[in-house]
């Protein structure tokens, strides 16, 4: 009997194929968009294998069963893999194709002569095996495709960010360069017309050159620091310091900037014995960054620096009464190349607060901002209180990801 059934199945392959194809085109939505059905090419082979499984007259060895099993798995996987590359295809629709196949086989076979329970079971098992293999392969392939797509998107984003960064760097360096170029050409043009000292005094050339060169050097330092953070070559050397003394040094250095914006030096509210273990140059850089932002975005209004001591931390608070930062931007501004204003509004690389955050985290501290848009910003950073041994510390490669 099984021999007859197997032969019947083999004989009916063209009919099964025709009916299965017809139903799949009409019932599986995603198939409507396909030029060919992925299972169609391998279906005759697949059905032959199924017929062999039903064939009782052949003495089936373990080896031949394994061979059939491998072959059915290969066909199922091929189907799953093909479908994974098809647009709009879901795993449900893939399973549906097999479900239709099972129904079509049973319908065609039953029409001639009812299948026995065992034969029906054998057909169902073979279909289930194939659907399982196809679904697994489909799912694995979709995961791989998505992973690749995400990696490609990430790469595109990185390239876009790099290009934007290069364009900003170029803009930031060109601005002081243009000033230097114009002023030096003007001096050359006027040379001989008037007394040189008088021209220098008139154009304040030495001060001007110093200011623009410092500006360019600051930009280049930021770019180099960014590179050091990304490659993990940013070294810190910790020493015990009173942070108030460090702040005073920065304010002294920032004198010309306050003068430029016609600002009085910041109001200072210092706690006593604010002792911390820090890399002095790096913390100076942090204070300078925060102070520069307070001056640039502070709308020429007074700036205040406060040092308070909490139970375990020394906290430095830099406040301005300027343009403020919108709530949705307050976290973003600490990320690389991010800023609260557009590059067309205010110059800068968008690296200052990113570098600030990396430095503070490397000190075991934290940094945050409180701000109301239009009413000013208050930047806080807190460092662990106390004296420590001299230690060296490297920033983690690629910067902090927290």
């Amino acid at each position: 009997m099984p021999d007859q059934t197997a032969n019947r199945l083999k004989k009916n392959i063209p009919e099964i194929l025709k009916r299965w194809e017809k139903r799949t085109w009409s019932e599986v939505k995603a198939s409507n968009h396909q030029e060919t059905l992925a299972l169609r090419d391998s279906l005759p082979e697949y059905l032959s294998k199924m017929a062999e499984a039903l064939l009782g007259s052949i003495i089936r060895t373990d080896e031949s069963r394994l061979k059939d099993r491998i072959e059915i798995t290969r066909i199922g996987k091929k189907h799953g893999n093909n479908r994974a590359f098809s647009l709009n295809y879901t795993i449900d629709q893939l399973i549906m194709e097999y479900h239709i196949l099972r129904q079509v086989i049973c319908d065609v076979m039953d029409k001639e002569k009812l299948l026995t329970l065992v034969e029906r079971e054998l057909i169902t098992c073979a279909i289930e095996q194939a659907v399982n293999d196809a679904a697994t392969e489909f799912s694995d392939t979709v995961k791989e495709i998505n992973l690749k797509a995400n990696q490609e998107e990430e790469l595109r984003k990185t390239i876009r960010t790099r290009d934007e960064f290069l364009s900003i760097v170029s803009h930031e360096l060109k601005t002081p360069l243009t000033s230097l170029k114009l002023k030096s050409q003007l001096l050359l043009k006027r040379d001989g017309d008037q007394d040189e000292t008088q021209i220098n005094k008139f154009l304040k050339f030495p001060e001007f050159v110093s200011l623009q060169v410092n500006r360019m050097s600051h930009l280049i330092e930021d770019i180099l620091d960014f590179g050091r953070i990304r490659t993990g070559s940013y070294k810190l050397e910790f020493r015990t310091k009173n942070i108030c003394k460090v702040i005073l040094d920065v304010i002294e250095q920032a004198g010309p900037a306050f003068k430029l914006f016609r600002l009085s030096p910041p109001e200072l509210l210092f706690a006593e014995d604010a002792i911390v273990s820090i890399d002095e140059e790096r913390i100076k850089q942090v204070i300078k960054n925060l102070l520069t932002n307070a001056i640039r975005f502070g709308q020429c209004k007074p700036v205040q620096i406060e040092v308070v001591i909490n139970s375990a931390e020394v906290e430095v608070i830099v406040s301005d009464q300027g343009i403020g930062i919108k709530a949705q931007d307050q976290e973003r501004i600490f990320k690389m190349f991010e800023r609260a204003v557009t590059p067309s509004e205010v110059s800068g690389l968008g690296l200052g607060l990113y570098i600030t955050k990396e430095i503070i985290i490397a000190h075991g501290g934290r940094v945050w901002v409180e701000s109301e848009f239009g009413s000013g910003s208050t930047f806080h950073f807190a460092l662990p209180k106390g004296r420590f041994q001299l230690v060296r510390h490297d920033l983690p490669k690629g910067g902090n990801r927290a």
Partner: protein, 116 residues
């Protein structure tokens, strides 16, 4: 004497351009703030406006748009300057563009073309 207004948040650069243009026989004023500059234009339209694109509060392109909407100001020639590439705007709403870093001779040449 032809009057030139220079608006650039880099005040030092704006002032340098003003000195240079005064040497060439123009009356030149430098202003660092866009809003203040716009008020100045409304008070007394200059013969030429030299305008930086990237500025805080109100950028150069916004100033151009506002001027083009005002019939009294729409015909003032504008020389846009920027370190970035030439901005894209619908129609030709400004007269010339100079990319930084330019030199004084380029500046003088362009100003002479626009003002005469």
């Amino acid at each position: 004497m032809k009057r030139i207004l220079i608006i650039d948040d880099e005040l030092d650069m704006a002032e340098t351009m003003a000195i240079l243009l005064k040497d060439e026989g123009y009356e030149a004023t430098a202003i660092a703030d866009g809003l203040e500059g716009l008020e100045d234009i409304k008070k007394g339209p200059p013969h030429l406006l030299i305008l930086d694109v990237m500025m805080p509060m109100i950028n150069g392109l916004d100033i151009v748009r506002l001027m083009k909407k005002d019939s009294k100001l729409s015909s003032i020639p504008i020389l846009l300057i920027s370190a970035s590439k030439e901005p894209e705007m619908e129609n030709d709403k400004w007269s010339q563009f100079l990319r930084k870093p330019f030199d004084i001779y380029e500046l003088i040449k362009t100003v002479k073309i626009l003002i005469h």
